[in-house]
Symmetry: C3
Subunit: 345 residues, 3 copies
């Protein structure tokens, strides 16, 4: 189902990112974070060497799924870099891909001539890949159906490194539906700095998503101690717990307009409360991609463990780093490594 | 009902503004207006001393009530200052505060990490106060239910000073529902430079809103000659008349989507026409927050008295001044004065 | 029906543009295109002489008709120039011109005080003219009912010159409903550099739109060999073919919200396919304003004749040139020439 990966210009999957790329993107994010901290402290920013005049850049978002956070996050990152965003998919105004609207091909070939990078979120898994093949511009996958969400994975990796240090020294748990797109991207991304231990907390009676199983096998082959648990309490001895709702599939497939999703209550074993954290005397760092549902009780917010709002804050310099790198035309080199074995075998 | 005022960082009520703050904000607005006038005359702007590099700022609007003017006004003010705006409440795309959406707390804690100032308009009176308490960012109340609308009051104060000079020398009339949020903020703000005379023109059979009665009592205590009339013709001997529709309550409480508000005709005593102005040989300056309804007949537009479009023009430098001051982190000092007596009593 | 043309400040019709204006606007567009090309090649942009400080400009769009391309095109052009856009007509949020909303007069008098140029698209033919008379700001007609679309005509003229050279040496065909607003603006604009030959391809049984007939008569008077054909194959010996759907009237009159337009199939004689181009051994440059409907088969996309995506690319520097010229306050001088004969007669 996954089409051939178009080229190093796009960030469509965690596969695109090599260790080299990750180090570069984190160094860029740290620089932007440092400037934010200087500014908040009222200190002057480091002067930059005189640069040649540049035309302001234009970031185009094409989202056919609802999003507050990811859309605003990229708009903010663009604004902080001095660029502007255009909303190239507006359900009220455009008719892209509908019977009376223009074809996706024509729309992409137009929007690419107006902008410098395309950010795609879609309920259709193949949409970012289609856009990546159609356009000569760099394309970012901001979530595609039940496939991947690589920029959120980069945010989490950055958050863990900022708050707990080198991932190689850590035990990391993930409570999630194994089909969730963020979860898949996150575990794939961990291959670049395999943790000592990785534990997936998921429903006992649901088969593991094949993509998740493969990503966990890759980790095991790299020396990570990989495990499965079915109760959130069994993750509270880890250094980090990234927690999501257990049944994301309805969300992942919902498109704009037909999204009457019930906020079902998580069953008790998958709900994190302050009580559970305190009972376990746990110092596990808690991450959550937000918006949260019932999986993460607000009683956790006042715990020192709560890392999820700091995580939101760190998402801005990380998204700035991603945009900056791609606007400079620096290719992602991960795909080359990953595909060489199978194409050579 | 009014919660404890959070801190000097926010502009939620006319109470927040001291005379010192008012002088500062008007000086800033005058500087921006001066630059606008230089530019329109084709003259060079005064050079600024070399400043350290700064990251562009992000202004977040959270409006759950319809607004054209206030939203565009702040967007324009941000753009003129070189900043960008993000629309952090989009009825079509976000689900904040709904059953299936995220909580207001989580939403604010996210948006504050993306931006530098929050502008809130809500049909819920406590919303800007909630946001002000939740966030470490400066928060602007751009209208909350039937409570206040302090930035519009600052616009009117600035307009009067630009067009008629020091308010202490003037007689000022206000034709309005005494429950209108702008009206309350305006009369409260007048305490900072009490006019010689203040007259409220309102329906004869409606009890005065307590907040309005208190604000008028404050003016009377400061030496202003305070009066009530029930016919617009009895305001035409004043230096200034700020006129609004008489029944604003339906508007003030309407939220996005359920706003089938009839544009009821004002009854004749509260409708201003050119005929009435000419018959009174009046040179009263006429202000109106716009959009107008039937209270202000378009026949007035060609009178030299009409000040309401100049008022719109002056709203831009005033909103620039407000944003500039708050982005610099300068606190509002009015609250301290106002609260000292009662907390000390 | 056409009101008196307000002044040289507005670009409402192809009539506004003189040959002098056209040369200026094309020189500006070529400069912006050159900078785009330098940037794509990684070369430094030419340094600009030190300029006095300027306030960022604000571009206001007032569109009551659906548009993806024109709206995004102007937003992009504004962003590339370092300016920002505000959307001053939002069907969801504003109530301009409705029973409960404010009058168009009040709305324009407000928006003009927030911005530096107004861009109007409307299903009402007189709307841009009304706005032009109401406002002291420069106004751009981005399509008004079945009247004109002069900026698209400028894009086409620029595209032809870039891809085929001086128009005076060319034969140009236009396949279009003679009532289409772009078509009328395009043929009017051709008077500024009359081609050797001009051919309209249209339905045989439909009377020629009077405005089109007049524009073609002007071309004939200037020495162009003017003709009519009723089959697209009879245009394939021309240097250029600009092709549109034959029945645009439903689109031209559709307003936001009531636009259930069927994408009717063009009848065979008006549909261009790669087969027809190859059979004719034609090297005709094919232009299309996009979005296309059935008139232009995607089989044409891989032909060397296909110029329509390059045309989209060229639309950005042309829109930048239009905004730049009007923000500088340079008047359009075409109207003077055109109106002098009749007003002097």
């Amino acid at each position: 189902m996954r089409p051939n990966y178009p080229s190093g210009k796009d960030l469509l999957s965690a596969d695109a990112v090599s260790r080299f790329d990750l180090d570069d993107i984190i160094a860029r994010a740290e620089r932007h974070l440092h400037e934010e901290e200087l500014e908040k402290a009222g200190l002057p920013l480091p002067e930059q060497p005189p640069a040649p005049r540049r035309r302001p850049k234009v970031i185009a978002t094409l989202f056919d799924q609802r999003s507050t956070r990811t859309r605003l996050g990229f708009q903010t990152a663009a604004a902080r870099l001095g660029h502007q965003s255009i909303d190239a998919y507006d359900t009220d105004r455009s008719r892209m891909g509908t019977d009376t609207g223009e074809s996706i091909e024509d729309h992409i070939h137009t929007v690419e001539l107006y902008s410098d990078v395309l950010i795609v979120r879609s309920h259709m898994e193949d949409m970012p890949y289609r856009v990546g093949r159609l356009s000569y511009l760099p394309v970012i996958n901001a979530g595609n159906g039940a496939d991947e969400h690589p920029t959120q994975a980069l945010v989490d990796i950055f958050a863990i490194r900022q708050m707990r240090g080198a991932i190689e020294n850590l035990s990391i748990a993930l409570s999630s539906d194994s089909r969730a797109r963020f979860a898949i991207s996150f575990v794939k991304m961990l291959r670049l700095s395999p943790p000592k231990r990785f534990t997936l907390c998921c429903l006992p009676d649901t088969p593991l998503n094949p993509a998740m199983r493969e990503a966990m096998t890759v980790l095991a082959d790299l020396g990570t101690q990989v495990g499965l648990v079915h109760d959130i309490r069994h993750t509270l001895d880890h250094d980090v717990l990234s927690i999501q709702m257990q049944d994301m599939s309805k969300f992942a497939h919902a498109s704009l307009g037909n999204e009457a999703v019930d906020k079902e209550k998580e069953s008790e074993p998958f709900t994190l409360t302050a009580r559970k954290v305190l009972d376990a005397r746990s110092d596990t760092l808690i991450l959550n991609p937000l918006p949260r549902f019932s999986e993460l009780d607000t009683s956790c917010d006042s715990l020192p463990n709560a890392g999820y709002f700091r995580q939101v804050q760190l998402s801005v310099p990380m998204r700035m780093a991603i945009l900056e790198r791609m606007l400079l035309g620096i290719p992602w080199t991960g795909q080359v490594e990953d595909f060489r074995p199978s194409s050579g075998g």
